[in-house]
Symmetry: C2
Subunit: 199 residues, 2 copies
């Protein structure tokens, strides 16, 4: 494909992003070429700034632009409740839902021995330290309902048995708005196993 | 949605790109956060470089990283053949097809009076100057087969009547691999109007 070297390079860099193939990358590069100098500069700067200014929160390992993240610093959050998630993206989704008002702990992955990820590669040691240091009443394990997410939840719950704290796992069942006809067997089994009394 | 200010800003900048909504922008921002410093730097630099180093070719108005673009500078291209396109993206698509070996002229748009785009907003004056200055034998009008693309082709062909040069329009018909059952009426009409003898 003909185009000037700097454009080819931009297309290559954009293609490296997830879900962006060569066609989309070309479209984006052409768009950036037609953007004003100021808009392109802002985009480039925002990429640099995010790497420069955003680090992991020293307490919960969420993304933060100061030593502790805005959630850990917020005195109105319930400090007795801790939700354990795999990634900052999971945390953002739960925050967007807006219902949960406790604190978080981000593992940065899940146990997957075949990919070389064991408990030591995750923030599990830090989680155990937090639970013994902070006065937690409940740990909600909100890792993904996948093999590795379930394995992580199981591992953590075993490590925390002696901590004398309530440990819960988020419910697995039919998603809201779902159509039972098209829901997979595993999910249906979870939905029946986890059924609750109608009140 | 909770996330650090620099991440929110990056998400905003990415959402401004075409075809990228807030969800995709968030996914990309999370990916960039997990990229190495070097990869993110390279992405940011490639955006700045494309704006810094890529300009319009002084002859055909394609994107170029020197005064003239690589196609205009290439002595093996047929300088008697000129293909008129709306955008550098159109040019790239034709180059990718790899069949055309002449030169180009990029209009940077098409005549659309309702959007305030008349002949003076396009590189039409420059096209007429080129045709009279360079020894062209054929002008292929490859603007889009749309109302404004057709209007631009018609306008240019009228302006070039006195130039004594062959003026052609790319064929409109059924696209290769298409299914006649699902092809729109306008395209089918063009395909019948433009039918050719089987040899």
């Amino acid at each position: 494909m003909y185009c000037p070297q700097p454009m080819l390079h931009l297309i290559q860099c954009l293609s490296a992003l997830p879900g962006i193939g060569e066609k989309t990358a070309t479209r984006l590069a052409l768009y950036i070429m037609n953007q004003t100098e100021a808009d392109a500069l802002q985009l480039a700067r925002s990429i640099l700034e995010v790497k420069e200014k955003v680090h992991l929160c020293s307490r919960c390992f969420n993304f933060a632009d100061s030593v502790e993240c805005a959630i850990c610093r917020n005195p109105s959050r319930d400090a007795h409740l801790l939700c354990v998630v795999e990634t900052p993206g999971d945390l953002m989704a739960i925050e967007k839902a807006g219902h949960y008002k406790g604190l978080y702990h981000v593992l940065h992955g899940a146990i997957a021995p075949l990919d070389g990820v064991g408990p030591d590669q995750l923030k599990i040691k830090e989680l155990l330290q937090r639970v013994s240091a902070e006065a937690m009443q409940e740990i909600i394990l909100a890792t993904n309902p996948t093999v590795s997410g379930n394995a992580s939840a199981l591992y953590i719950s075993q490590q925390l048995i002696s901590a004398g704290v309530r440990i819960t796992r988020i419910a697995q069942g039919v998603p809201s708005g779902g159509d039972i006809e098209y829901i997979d067997e595993g999910t249906l089994r979870s939905a029946f196993d986890g059924r609750r009394e109608m009140k």
